[in-house]
Every structure is written in structure tokens, then in C-alpha cells.
């Protein structure tokens, strides 16, 4: 007896394989057909992929090339509940850290930003706006040099309490990647 797998279940399985990086060429074609055949399969796929993306964003690693070390002067309550030694050091792309992109989101409220570029064997410090930092990063990332940025932020007195997040952020880049 020939059992045809349920298309919904099959779509789910194939998306799991896609998430796990194990989708074969033949399976990719099969998944394409399933997604094309029924909108609810596509909705199911989006839900699974969105959850995977959220888990990666919330819990840690999305890029092995990303390396950001958040140094918080005032650890949050949830951080404090974990022993220092048990806390995983997860490489992160800077915008993925909720704390960091909140800080970037509040860039306009930042009174002063000091950027220290450590490139190879020399070190330089500069005062810059958030805009200048991004512009400088885009330009310098074109060069295949490993570098580390140390970004220190100072908040104005009127900053809202919820923007009480790390003041020192280290961003390591390799080549043109964070």
C-alpha cells in the first residue's frame, strides 16, 4: 500500500530540513511545489522560519562571523540571576542584540559617542556622531582588515529609564563582516 504523506506535514518536515541546512536539491524542488500549490503551506513555512529567526535573535547566534561583546556597567536583573561562568558568550551581529539596537535606536538622544578604532597595530580615538560611525564603518569595511570598535555612549540626563543599557560595546569585524 502506497501512503502519500500529508502535504502539510511534508511541508513542515521540509522546512525543518531547510532550517537545519539539510534540504537536498530534490527536496527543494518538492518544497517549491508544495508552497506554490497551497497558500496555507506557505503560511506554515513563514511561521516556522519566523520562529527560527526569533529564536536566533533572542537567544544568540545568527552569525559565526559576528562578534560583539556587550560590557554592561549595570547588569539587568535577568543577567544577575546567572552565574558569570555559566553565561554563554555568543557571537552576535550588533543589531541583533535587543539592548544594542535599542541603544542604536536612541542614537539621536546620545550626547556624545567616542569611537576607538583598533586597526592591526595602531590605535586611534575620535569623537563622532552615530551617523559618522556608520559612514566610517561602511567605508572602512571595504578594506580586508580585522578591527575592533569600542563604542562608549553617554546618555543625557533626560534619557528615559528604559534606555538604561550597556555603555560600552565592542564590535569585532573580520574583512567586510561584523
Amino acid at each position: 500500500m502506497n501512503h502519500q504523506p500529508d502535504p502539510c506535514e511534508r511541508t513542515r518536515q521540509l522546512i525543518v530540513e531547510l532550517i537545519d541546512g539539510e534540504l537536498s536539491l530534490t527536496e527543494a524542488g518538492e518544497l517549491n511545489q508544495l508552497l506554490r500549490s497551497d497558500r496555507k503551506h506557505a503560511e506554515q513555512a513563514v511561521d516556522q522560519l519566523l520562529l527560527d529567526s526569533l529564536l536566533a535573535a533572542e537567544l544568540g547566534t545568527e552569525s559565526l562571523t559576528a562578534l560583539v561583546d556587550l560590557v554592561s556597567e549595570e547588569p539587568s536583573a535577568s543577567d544577575a540571576t546567572q552565574p558569570e561562568t555559566s553565561r554563554p558568550v555568543a557571537p552576535r551581529w550588533p543589531f541583533n542584540s535587543r539592548r544594542l539596537w535599542q541603544s542604536l535606536g536612541g542614537a539621536a538622544a546620545v550626547a556624545a559617542v567616542v569611537v576607538a578604532f583598533v586597526m592591526s597595530r595602531w590605535e586611534n580615538s575620535a569623537l563622532a556622531s552615530a551617523t559618522t560611525i556608520v559612514q566610517a564603518a561602511l567605508e572602512t569595511h571595504a578594506e580586508p582588515v580585522e578591527r575592533v570598535y569600542i563604542v562608549q555612549t553617554e546618555r543625557p540626563a533626560m534619557t528615559e529609564p528604559e534606555f538604561n543599557h550597556p555603555r560600552d560595546v565592542r564590535v569585532a569585524t573580520q574583512g567586510d563582516r561584523f
Binding site: 525543518v16 531547510l18 532550517i19 537545519d20 541546512g21 536539491l25 527543494a28 524542488g29 518544497l31 517549491n32 508552497l35 506554490r36 497558500r39 506557505a42 503560511e43 513555512a45 513563514v46 511561521d47 516556522q48 522560519l49 519566523l50 520562529l51 527560527d52 529567526s53 526569533l54 529564536l55 536566533a56 535573535a57 533572542e58 537567544l59 544568540g60 547566534t61 545568527e62 552569525s63 559565526l64 562571523t65 559576528a66 554563554p88 555568543a90 557571537p91 551581529w93 543589531f95 541583533n96 539596537w101 542604536l104 535606536g105 542614537a107 539621536a108 556622531s129 552615530a130 551617523t131 556608520v134 559612514q135 561602511l138 567586510d176 563582516r177 561584523f178
Partner: protein
């Protein structure tokens, strides 16, 4: 372009990173390629910053650029291997755009649902996502078959998905 507009674009790019990332991922981009594409999208958004009209919908503008970038990426891959066609990707983009309108609520729901996981399940999720370990590595480390780990992760993600939907349906109230 004035520095005010530049500052605004920087803020918007930062604010929309999670949504852009989710959008790219939902278009069947391999996780290992998501960062590269996101970097390209960010660079294009910055380069085209002077085209952005302050006061208009940043997400509408950014998601168009993101969609274009992903389609280009997929077409490039298409020369090497069979991948997903434009019709499917357009459908996924439309659905993803709709789902991502609730991203903040989904994230809050996920935080809640993660706290409800039994410790062994939470540890497995942490191994996979926090430590970024491969399924094979996890399987070897804890002496279980990779297929078993894959199935368990699948069940955990399904449970999380169901929990998130319940949370959203309940309006985000803790249950």
C-alpha cells in the same frame, strides 16, 4: 542630504533590523546567508538614504529593497542549483510582511513561552541557538542519535509555535 535625515535613516535602519532579518529568513534564505544579505540590504539602505522621504513609511521602502536583494540572491543561486521560483517568493514575502507587523508581540510571546519550557527542553534550545551548535555536535555530545535530536527540536519548536499563537490570540496575557 541633511544630517537630520541621515540620523533618522540610521535610527530607522537600526530599529528595523529584527524585522528585516525575519523578512529575509522567511524568504527561504539559508541561515548562513542571512547575515550577508542583511549587510547588503543595510548598505543599500544607507546608499539610498537620500531617496527616503522623512515622514513616509520606512518599512514599506526598506522591505522593497530587501525583497529585491533576496530575489537577486536567489536568482544568482538559480544558476547553480534548483531553488525557489519568484511566484513562491512573492507569496512568502507577502505573508511574511503581514506576520512581521506583529513582530514585537511575537517576541514578547516567545519570551514568555521559553520560560514555560521544561529545563531539558530549554537546555536543548540553548545548545542549538545560544551556543550555535550543530545537531550532529549536540547528538555526539549527549550520546543520542542525530535524528532523535532533530525530532525533539522539531517538537519543541512546534510547542513554542503553538504557545505563541495562543499568546497572540489571548492578547499577550500570560497563561
Amino acid at each position: 542630504m541633511s544630517s537630520d535625515v541621515r540620523n533618522q535613516v540610521v535610527q530607522e535602519i537600526a530599529r528595523y533590523q529584527p524585522r528585516l532579518r525575519g523578512f529575509v529568513r522567511c524568504l527561504l534564505v539559508r541561515s548562513s546567508d542571512v547575515d550577508d544579505i542583511l549587510q547588503e540590504i543595510n548598505a543599500v539602505l544607507w546608499e539610498k538614504a537620500d531617496e527616503f522621504q522623512p515622514g513616509t513609511d520606512f518599512w514599506a521602502w526598506a522591505s522593497q529593497i530587501a525583497r529585491f536583494k533576496v530575489l537577486n540572491h536567489v536568482r544568482k543561486l538559480g544558476r547553480e542549483r534548483l531553488v525557489f521560483d519568484d511566484e513562491v517568493l512573492e507569496r512568502l514575502a507577502e505573508i511574511a510582511g503581514s506576520r512581521l507587523e506583529q513582530l514585537d508581540q511575537r517576541r514578547t510571546a516567545l519570551d514568555h513561552c521559553l520560560q514555560q519550557l521544561p529545563p531539558p527542553q530549554r537546555q536543548l534550545i540553548d545548545l542549538r541557538y545560544t551556543s550555535g551548535q550543530t545537531i550532529d555536535f549536540i547528538a555526539e555530545s549527549i550520546g543520542r542519535p542525530a535524528g532523535s535530536i532533530r525530532q525533539t527540536l522539531y517538537r519543541i519548536r512546534s510547542a513554542l509555535q503553538a504557545c505563541i499563537e495562543r499568546q497572540l490570540a489571548a492578547g499577550g496575557e500570560s497563561s
